[in-house]
């Protein structure tokens, strides 16, 4: 049984005639310990998909119009509030793009991490006081130890003094490490990282990617990584799902996808980014822009921008088909021969 199984998820915003479908018939799995990357441009539905896993989207305005999200075999969409509280943090943890917006500015970072511990690992948060040294002081010390251990784990220097810092006293990279420590505090089976490095500088981004890779090996934790940067994909992912306008257009093992992108959109996305040292004279830009969800083109959603579009592309919407083992592409004219050099 996969750790996470999303089946035919349909997610809408708004109601009646004004409703737009942000996620349309989306299905994919994450196995235990696997890293899956969700790639796409802004507005393609990748963040809302990620938020749906622990039902973090406010409903309304969001509305689940169909499908199932099975976490360890149990449907998240049918869970009670108490059950949801258990899986949020307990099974799935989140790390978001902007660490400064995710941390409480008026609480010391040590206490913020302790809060997660109290909720999910109460025995770690207040270790039984040792017989010799009873009292709240000793109790606090032992819960501090766990927080210090977590901060050390994510590579924060001098964690003993850092637990007393406020978020504004830390840099963006350090704040993101605190967020990761907090996500790990409850020892989740799945870590959802939504653009965790987009707000950071490249040298700090490299540090965070190394950290995520280490943690993945150390704990055998599954990661759902959401990004628009194909470079990060190659560094971390086992499998990649490419999204466009609310649909998955391609799923494949990461290396295969990067070597030989199948869907024209994946190919175009890879061609449009400049590569270091390639000395290309001109970038192959994708014409036009991502369609609005309330004005999706008929047929294939990518056809108005697609260099390989045929007459029938504007008529029939293509299905996501398994074209090779483990490789799914939503395009009848897919090819895996014209990849990057």
């Amino acid at each position: 049984m996969p750790l996470l199984e999303i089946k035919n998820l349909k997610l809408e915003f708004g109601s009646g005639h004004a409703a737009v479908r942000a996620v349309d018939d989306l299905s994919f799995n994450i196995e235990t310990g696997e890293t899956v990357c969700l790639v796409g441009e802004s507005g393609c539905g990748k963040s809302v998909t990620a938020l749906s896993i622990a039902r973090l989207l406010p409903t309304p305005p969001a509305r689940f119009a169909g499908g199932e999200i099975l976490l360890n075999g149990r449907d998240v969409l049918k869970m009670s509030k108490a059950e949801l509280r258990e899986i949020r943090g307990g099974v799935v943890s989140y790390v978001f793009q902007e660490p400064s917006a995710s941390l409480n500015p008026v609480v010391r970072v040590g206490n913020q991490i302790k809060e997660t511990l109290k909720l999910h690992k109460p025995n770690l948060a207040r270790d039984a006081p040792k017989p010799s040294q009873e009292g709240s002081g000793a109790r606090r010390r032992s819960s501090d130890e766990e927080v210090i251990r977590l901060l050390k784990l994510v590579g924060i220097p001098a964690p003993e003094s850092r637990i007393r810092s406020y978020p504004h006293e830390m840099s963006g990279g350090m704040q993101q490490r605190v967020m990761i420590a907090m996500a790990l505090a409850s020892r989740p089976q799945l870590l959802v990282a939504d653009e965790p490095t987009t707000a950071l500088d490249v040298t700090i981004q490299a540090q965070i990617i190394e950290l995520l890779r280490d943690l993945k090996h150390q704990f055998g934790m599954a990661i759902l990584l959401i990004t628009h940067n194909l470079g990060i994909v190659g560094d971390l992912a086992d499998r990649v799902a490419v999204m466009y306008a609310g649909q998955i257009v391609e799923i494949a093992p990461a290396k295969e996808l990067l070597r030989r992108p199948g869907h024209p959109y994946t190919q175009a996305l890879m061609d449009s980014v400049p590569k270091l040292g390639a000395e290309t004279q001109r970038l192959r830009a994708i014409p036009g822009s991502v369609p609005q969800l309330n004005a999706l083109p008929a047929g294939c959603r990518f056809h108005p921008r697609c260099p390989k579009a045929q007459a029938e592309c504007s008529q029939t919407a293509p299905a996501l088909l398994e074209v090779a083992p483990n490789r799914w592409v939503r395009c009848p004219f897919w090819s895996n021969d014209c990849g990057i050099e």
Binding site: E41, S42, D201, V202, G231, G234, A268, S272, L276, S289
Partner: protein
């Protein structure tokens, strides 16, 4: 050949208050003794991490921020001391495009008014009809529809707004455009459109760009030469070609190796720099990079390395660079 822009020993300092009773004023040396030049029609890339002073340098050149000392020579004239009408006259040749296409357009002005404002200020149109024609021409030049002039910024996507920003800069026929992270707020597929547009405009009109960005791949693609900054100082100045093949400064090397690559078969070794960029209020002594430098020696902590020309056109500020 005379340079279009020459920057000499430019410094920009920001005062930092230090408590109500403290008389000692501290300064952030955002730009510290920077010199370079730019040829007509050339693109000079400017890279560095956030807080290294690249935006401040760009703004000081167009004098949106007053420099503390140093000279900026534009077409041979020192523009750091110009005022009023004289400054306005020079600024016509010197424009800027900003990072955030949402924040840099007035939401209450139509696109036509935003682009036309520059034409009015510099009195570039003889008649209302000519002004109207000029606005339509500019919008078409940047790939928008002439009819878009009547619309407001919120009706456009990020990429289209960036095109409006470019049209506004082009309205006064500048010779140099300072592009401050023009594509970093855009989606990758749109980013390529804007880069291509900037290159086409340069080929057609011979505009020079000072292209500020943190994405090395983009900078390498668009620039002829690249300036690397760290804590307000230039650490390396080199050809875009040698940026990838033979960077000499350890910071440039680390920055380059940190860029994620798409190629899954790449054998590249990543240099992960420890720590963060130090605070520019209290930069480390000696070489500002030495606390994070993987090859630092004892003298790096004491002696400030000067920018030296290693090979013709390739400058680096490192004691150990050969």
């Amino acid at each position: 050949m005379s340079a279009l822009l020459e920057v000499r020993n430019l410094r920009v300092h920001f005062p930092v208050k230090h408590g109500p009773f403290s008389r000692a004023k501290l300064f952030v040396k955002a730009v510290d003794d920077v010199s370079f030049h730019l040829e007509p029609g050339e693109t000079l890339g400017l890279v560095g991490e956030s807080g290294c002073g690249k935006t401040t340098l760009g703004r000081a050149i167009v004098r949106l921020i007053e420099p503390a000392s140093g000279d900026v020579l534009f077409e041979g004239d020192n523009i750091t001391r110009l005022r009023g009408a004289e400054l306005r006259l020079r600024r016509r040749k010197l424009q800027m495009i900003f990072q955030d296409p949402y924040g840099s357009l007035n939401p209450r002005m139509t696109v036509g008014e935003a682009v036309g404002e520059a034409i009015d200020i510099h009195q570039l149109a003889e008649s209302p009809a000519a002004r109207h024609r000029r606005i339509e021409e500019l919008l078409e030049l940047v790939g928008l529809d002439a009819a878009h002039a009547q619309r407001y910024p919120h009706e456009f996507s990020g990429g289209q707004r960036q095109r409006i920003g470019i049209a506004r800069a082009l309205a006064v026929e500048p010779k140099l455009i300072v592009c401050d992270e023009p594509v970093s707020a855009l989606d990758v597929s749109v980013q390529a459109q804007i880069i291509n547009l900037l290159q086409d405009l340069q080929a057609g009109r011979g505009i020079a760009y000072l292209f500020i960005a943190h994405d090395l791949a983009v900078v390498e693609h668009i620039s002829r030469r690249v300036l690397v900054m760290y804590l307000g100082k230039v650490v390396e100045l080199l050809d875009a070609h040698s940026l990838v093949n033979e960077p000499k400064h350890p910071y440039t090397q680390a920055l380059l190796s940190a860029v994620p690559v798409v190629d899954p078969d790449s054998k590249r070794v990543r240099i992960v720099l420890p720590g963060d960029v130090p605070s520019p209020i209290d930069p480390p002594g000696g070489c500002p990079f030495h606390p994070r430098c993987p090859v630092a020696e004892a003298r790096c902590k004491i002696e400030v390395p000067l920018l030296r020309e290693l090979t013709p056109g390739h400058w680096a500020a490192c004691h150990l660079a050969r």
